[in-house]
C-alpha cells in the first residue's frame, strides 16, 4: 500500500515538474522564451499529412490559407481524391485556394476581429532574438490556460490577451497557469506576477507527449505551407553549389594558366 502511494505521489510530482519545465523558463524583456520545434519533422510526409488533417479539421473553420491551393497537397503525398474526400469541407474545387468557412462579419461580431490568414504565419512570426515562426506557433498552441476573466475563457502565455480560444482543448485537456508574486528586479518596492508553470485541470483525449507530437505535426504542416518548395529548394541548392564549386575551381585554374604569361 505504501509503495503504491509513493508511486502515485512521485508520478504526480513528476507530472507537475515536467509541466513546469515545459513552460517558459524565464521571461525575457519581450515575453517568455519559445520552445524549439523539431525541424526534422519537415521531411516526414506522414507528419505533414497529419498536420494537414489537423489544419483542415480544426483551423480552417475560422482561418483561411488564401494563398495555398488544395492540390499543392499532392507534394506531401496526397492524391486529389484523398484531398477532395477528406480535407475540403467548403465545397471548393481541388484547384482552388483554401478559403475560410467563417464570414468576416461574423468573425468581427464573435471574436472582435477577423482571424489572420495562416498561409504565411510560420514565416511572419519569426523573431531573430527568440526563434523561428515555427518555434513560436509550437509554443503558442501548447501554452493555452483557463482564464475566466477573458471572454473566451482562455488566455495564452505566448500571446497574452489573445482573442482566439483553445481550439485543440479536447485533445490537450484543460490546464491553469500558476503565478507567484516576486519582487520586481528593477524596483524592490514593486512586486511582479511571475509565471511559474502550468497545472492540469482535466485530461484530454491525448496525453502530454501525444499532444506535443500532434502539435508538432500541425506546425510542420504550417511551416511547409508557408513555403511549399522549401525542401526542394534545399535539395537543389546542394547540387547548384557542387556545380558552382567545380566551375570555380576550373575557372581558377584557367585564370592561372592565362596569368602564367604575366611577369
Amino acid at each position: 500500500m505504501k509503495k503504491l502511494s509513493v508511486l502515485l505521489h512521485s508520478l504526480l510530482c513528476s507530472l507537475l515538474v515536467s509541466m513546469a519545465v515545459l513552460a517558459p523558463a524565464h521571461a525575457s524583456s519581450e515575453g517568455p522564451a519559445w520552445d524549439k520545434f523539431d525541424t526534422k519533422r519537415l521531411t516526414d510526409l506522414a507528419a505533414l499529412q497529419n498536420g494537414a488533417k489537423l489544419f483542415a479539421n480544426y483551423c480552417m473553420n475560422c482561418h483561411a490559407a488564401a494563398y495555398m491551393r488544395y492540390n499543392r497537397l499532392r507534394d506531401i503525398g496526397l492524391t486529389e481524391e484523398q484531398i477532395r474526400d477528406n480535407l475540403i469541407f467548403t465545397g471548393a474545387k481541388v484547384g482552388e485556394t483554401m478559403k475560410a468557412a467563417l464570414d468576416p462579419k461574423d468573425a468581427k461580431d464573435w471574436f472582435g476581429g477577423v482571424p489572420p490568414d495562416l498561409t504565411l504565419i510560420a514565416r511572419s512570426r519569426s523573431d531573430a532574438a527568440k526563434g523561428s515562426g515555427a518555434d513560436y506557433i509550437y509554443t503558442y498552441l501548447r501554452s493555452y490556460y483557463r482564464d475566466d476573466t477573458k471572454a473566451t475563457g482562455w488566455n495564452n502565455t505566448a500571446f497574452p490577451g489573445v482573442g482566439m480560444p483553445h481550439v485543440l482543448w479536447q485533445l490537450q485537456g484543460q490546464q491553469r497557469a500558476l503565478h507567484a508574486d516576486e519582487k520586481d528586479p528593477h524596483d524592490a518596492k514593486k512586486t511582479v506576477h511571475v509565471f511559474k508553470g502550468f497545472e492540469a485541470i482535466t485530461a484530454g483525449t491525448l496525453n502530454q507527449s501525444e499532444y506535443n507530437l500532434a502539435v508538432a505535426d500541425l506546425v510542420a504542416y504550417l511551416q511547409w505551407m508557408s513555403e511549399p518548395v522549401q525542401n526542394d529548394r534545399v535539395r537543389l541548392g546542394v547540387w547548384v553549389l557542387l556545380f558552382l564549386g567545380g566551375f570555380t575551381v576550373i575557372a581558377w585554374r584557367l585564370n592561372a594558366s592565362f596569368w602564367k604569361d604575366i611577369k
Binding site: A66, Y67, M68, R69, R72, P116, D117, T119, L120, R123, S124, R125, S126, D127, A128, G133, S226, E227, P228, V229, R233, V234, L236, G237, V238, V240, L241, L244, G245, F247, T248, A251, W252, L254, N255, A256, F258, W259, K260, I262, K263
Partner: protein, 468 residues
C-alpha cells in the same frame, strides 16, 4: 561605298561576314578593341577590383529577374501581395526568380559598398578620375531610390510602413515639404497611387537612368584608364615602340578570365544564401513583410532594410540636443575660419556671418528636418571627396600608417551605425549614433587637414606585382 574594305581572296564565309559587318558598323568593332582587347589595365589588380564587374553582374541579374517578375506581378494594392505569393507557388520556377531578385537586391549593396570602399582606399577618385567618382555617386543615389521603391512593391507590412515613414520625412522640409510628399505619394496617404508610381519608377525610369549612368561611368573610366592599388599612373611609363603602358595588360583576356573566377566565387555565396537562407536571418526578406500591408496596424518596430540602416541611424540621432551641438560646432568652425582662414579684408568676417546664420537656422527649424538634411548630406558628402582629399599620394599603401587605423575606424563606425539603425531607439543607442554621426562627418569635413599631415612613404614608379 568606296571606303569599304574588301575581304581578301579565298576568305571563308565567316571572314566575309565579319568584313561585311565591319564596313557597316565599325563602331562595334572599334568598341571591342578600345574597351576589351586593347584596353590596357594595370596588372596589379587585387581582390578589391572584383566588385565593379560583380556590380555589373548583379545589375544584369536584377534586370533579367525583374523582367520575369513583372510578367506575373500585379501593381495594384489589392492584388500585389497575392501576386507575389502566386509567383512563389504557382509560376514554374517563380520562387527561384523571386529569391534571385531579393537576394540580388542585398547583394547589390554588399558589392557596391565594397566597390566604393576600394575607391576610397586607393584614391581612385583623385584626378583625372573625379568624374568617374561623381557618376558613381550618382549611381549610388539612384540605387538607393531604386531599392526603396522596389521594397514597396510586395506590399507587406514593412513595405507599407517603411515607405510611410520615409515619405513623411520629405514632409518635414520647410515650405515645400507637404506638397512634395503629396507628389511622391500621389495621394494623402501611401496607397494604390503610390504603388503605381513607384512601380513605374522602379521598373522603367530609374533602371534607364541607372543604365545610362553605368555607361557614362565606364566610358569616363576607360577614357582616363584604371587606377591600381599602388596609385601609380601606368600611362607614365610606356613601351617606346608600341606605346602600350609597361605595367598594362589587355583587359581581354586577362581580366575577363580573372573576373570569371570572381563571378564563380560570388555565385557560390549568392547561391548559398538563395537556396539555404533566402530570408537572410530576417535581413534580406523581413519577417514582417509576410503580413499583407494593413494601414490600420502599425508594426512595433519600423526599420528600413539593412543597407539603409547606417543612414537611418544618423537620421534618428539628430535630436534637439544634437542640433544644439551642431550649432556650437558650426559657430566654432566660423570662428576658426575667421581667425585662421587667411581671408583678406571684409571677407575675413564672411565665415563668421555664415556660421551665425547657419546656427540661427538650425535652431529655427524642427530637429526632424535637420535629421533629413543630415541623412541626405551623409550621401551627398561623397560627391566632393576628390576635392576634400588633399593627400599628395593616391593609395593608402603609401600614406602614413595611421591612415589605415582611421579607415578601419570609418568602416567600424559605419557598421555600428548600421547596427543601431536596426534596433529600436534606446538612450545608449542614440548616444552612440550621435557620436558615430559626428565621426562620419568629421572624417570627410576634416579630410582637407588630416589627409595632408604625417609621413608619406615613397611611391614606386612601377607597380608592385608578384608573378602568379
Amino acid at each position: 561605298m568606296a571606303e569599304f574594305k574588301e575581304a581578301p581572296a579565298g576568305a571563308s564565309t565567316g571572314e566575309k561576314l565579319t568584313v561585311w559587318a565591319q564596313n557597316r558598323f565599325p563602331t562595334a568593332f572599334d568598341a571591342y578593341r578600345v574597351h576589351m582587347s586593347e584596353y590596357y589595365a594595370p596588372k596589379n589588380f587585387n581582390f578589391w577590383y572584383f566588385f565593379g564587374a560583380l556590380a555589373m553582374l548583379v545589375l544584369v541579374i536584377q534586370i533579367v529577374t525583374g523582367i520575369f517578375l513583372v510578367m506575373h506581378y500585379k501593381p495594384d494594392a489589392a492584388k500585389a501581395f497575392e501576386s507575389v505569393e502566386y509567383i512563389m507557388r504557382d509560376v514554374p520556377w517563380g520562387w527561384l526568380v523571386r529569391y534571385m531578385h531579393s537576394t540580388g537586391a542585398s547583394a547589390f549593396f554588399v558589392v557596391v559598398y565594397l566597390h566604393m570602399f576600394r575607391g576610397m582606399i586607393y584614391g581612385s577618385y583623385k584626378s583625372p578620375r573625379e568624374l568617374v567618382w561623381i557618376f558613381g555617386c550618382a549611381i549610388f543615389l539612384c540605387l538607393m531610390a531604386e531599392a526603396f521603391m522596389g521594397y514597396l512593391l510586395p506590399w507587406g507590412q514593412m513595405s507599407y510602413w517603411g515607405a510611410q515613414v520615409i515619405i513623411n520625412l520629405f514632409a518635414a522640409i520647410p515650405f515645400i515639404g507637404p506638397d512634395l510628399s503629396l507628389l511622391i505619394r500621389g495621394d494623402y496617404v501611401v496607397g494604390d497611387a503610390t504603388l503605381n508610381r513607384f512601380f513605374s519608377f522602379h521598373v522603367i525610369a530609374v533602371p534607364l537612368v541607372l543604365l545610362g549612368l553605368v555607361v557614362a561611368h565606364l566610358l569616363a573610366l576607360h577614357d582616363v584608364g584604371s587606377n591600381n592599388p599602388d596609385g601609380i599612373e601606368i600611362k607614365a611609363k610606356r613601351d617606346p615602340k608600341t606605346g602600350i603602358p609597361l605595367d598594362g595588360i589587355p583587359f581581354h583576356p586577362y581580366y575577363t578570365v580573372h573576373d570569371i573566377m570572381g563571378v564563380g566565387v560570388f555565385l557560390m555565396i549568392f547561391s548559398a544564401v538563395l537556396f539555404f537562407a533566402p530570408e537572410g536571418g530576417g535581413y534580406f526578406l523581413e519577417y514582417n513583410n509576410f503580413i499583407p500591408a494593413d494601414p490600420l496596424k502599425t508594426p512595433a518596430h519600423i526599420a528600413p532594410v539593412w543597407y539603409f540602416t547606417p543612414y537611418y541611424s544618423m537620421l534618428r540621432a539628430v535630436t534637439d540636443t544634437m542640433v544644439t551641438v551642431f550649432a556650437v560646432l558650426v559657430g566654432a568652425a566660423g570662428v576658426l575660419a575667421t581667425l585662421f582662414g587667411g581671408f583678406k579684408g571684409l571677407w575675413k568676417w564672411a565665415p563668421l556671418v555664415v556660421a551665425v546664420v547657419a546656427a540661427a537656422l538650425l535652431k529655427t527649424f524642427d530637429a526632424k528636418f535637420w535629421g533629413v538634411v543630415v541623412m541626405g548630406m551623409a550621401v551627398m558628402i561623397l560627391f566632393p571627396l576628390p576635392w576634400l582629399d588633399r593627400s599628395p599620394v593616391r593609395s593608402i599603401r603609401y600614406r602614413p600608417s595611421w591612415n589605415r587605423w582611421l579607415y578601419g575606424m570609418f568602416v567600424l563606425n559605419f557598421v555600428v551605425l548600421g547596427y543601431y539603425g536596426v534596433k529600436p531607439v534606446t538612450d545608449l543607442g542614440t548616444l552612440i549614433s550621435q557620436g558615430g554621426t559626428l565621426f562620419y562627418f568629421g572624417f570627410f569635413l576634416l579630410m582637407p587637414w588630416w589627409s595632408r599631415i604625417g609621413e608619406f612613404k615613397a611611391v614606386p614608379d612601377r607597380v608592385v606585382f608578384h608573378a602568379h
